[in-house]
Subunit: 220 residues, 2 copies
DNA sequence: TGTACATCAGTGAACGCGCGTTCACTGATGTAC
DNA sequence: TGTACATCAGTGAACGCGCGTTCACTGATGTAC
């Protein structure tokens, strides 16, 4: 509630011990630091508990007060991160105000924008080997939301009726690929990809079959 | 030439010193081992020089006889690996025997098949953070081959004329995404994706605009 | 109102490990004379 | 044909490091009586 009496997990600063009953605050700080470091490292294996503790201004052992081990910490961070992404996407969806195509477009573009804002987190969430080692079933909300959005376009006659799950998978795969290619490109090569937005628009038109939008955004 | 007097880099076996003038053989063995380990680990940062040396049956320091450091080793392995992939794709292309659509389809499917045969290597090649840190410009051959294949379809009137580079990028992005989603799926979740081949066929039809193929392969 | 005690939130030292890398070296093998 | 020597292919010990994790502990704070 009051946000000023505790330093947020600023880089390396030592923090004061939480008051009784406020032990969970350290958990929050640790998660926040973990997300920041994961975004920088873009690799869960490169994240060390000791670095997290250092950045949180806390002894290395204190991490164990809230997380059983390295994987538990990373998974908790990923879960939170995925929650944020899902929330952003759903909010964009709602913001489209009933137009099913605008809604699908908004979902897709917000996801792309999020990926560029948090490239390291996007990679950890979608490409980290922890996905194979651990159960990350929380990642499936997005699939369902996306299928539903495609289905609404079809139901409204704004896209040809088809297997919505398959079409949504095609769209997701294509957009993920477009994002992934851009995020994984060498910083050294001068090679530039065309803007993601154009490519997404082509995917919406060709894969889902919605009408091509005008030059600007389609809402109003 | 004679392939029987030297043990190939079998797991952990100690090897006998190469004869004078044959020093480059160790380089080959080290590369082979590196590729195997990278495929298992699916992460270049998780690969250790010492593990490579151990598997090659050689002292850790011997790796430095042929590679300047860790990154140099990984990059050399990636380059070889990319060469193999390119070769396989180009061979499939040639095998299509002049039919531009069959050729594009073959290229695409071979790439997908390769990814499933070497999931770890595919991930290292396309998703490793070494791509951002180092110059991996060798990775661009595939882009050009793929654009050319799309262009040939258009020239033959088998696909609507369009910006071949953009269409090829769309196809590559979509296929990469489809592959990536499957490779990164949790082993625990029972969730199954539909076969890649079906999805690739939809991408060829919808993104490139080729005619839908019959049930079997399109060649004869 | 005072005090003993339980609990909470965290600490500091230590463990054993594998890592990348450097260094001076070894011993077999080919070659010049 | 013999022998000194250069070169090649590779080794072994050692460096300092940061890591994950365990353990016994500390000291402030709230609470029961």
């Amino acid at each position: 509630m009051a946000a000023m009496n505790t330093t947020p997990p600023a880089s390396g600063a030592q923090r004061s011990r939480n008051r009784r009953g406020q032990g969970e605050r350290l958990r929050e700080d640790i998660l926040t630091v973990t997300l920041r470091l994961l975004d920088e490292l873009a690799d869960d294996q490169a994240l060390s508990l000791r670095a997290v503790a250092r950045e949180a201004g806390v002894a290395a052992t204190s991490v164990y007060l809230h997380f059983a081990d390295h994987d538990a910490l990373v998974l908790a961070a990923m879960e939170r991160c995925h929650g944020d992404l899902t929330e952003a996407v759903d909010k964009a969806d709602t913001g489209a105000d009933g137009d099913p195509v605008a809604s699908l477009r908004a979902r897709t573009l917000v996801m792309g924008a999020w990926a560029f804002q948090h490239p390291g987190l996007y990679k950890v969430l979608h490409e980290s080997t922890i996905n194979q080692r651990a159960n990350t079933s929380f990642r499936y909300d997005l699939t369902e939301g996306s299928t539903a959005a495609v289905q609404r376009c079809m139901d409204a006659g704004l896209a040809p009726a088809d297997d919505a799950a398959a079409v949504a998978l095609d769209l997701r795969a294509a957009v993920h690929g477009a994002v992934s290619i851009r995020l994984n490109q060498s910083k050294e090569s001068g090679r530039q990809w065309p803007p993601l937005e154009e490519q997404v628009e082509r995917f919406l038109v060709k894969l889902v079959g919605v009408a091509r939008s005008g030059a600007g955004a389609s809402r109003r």
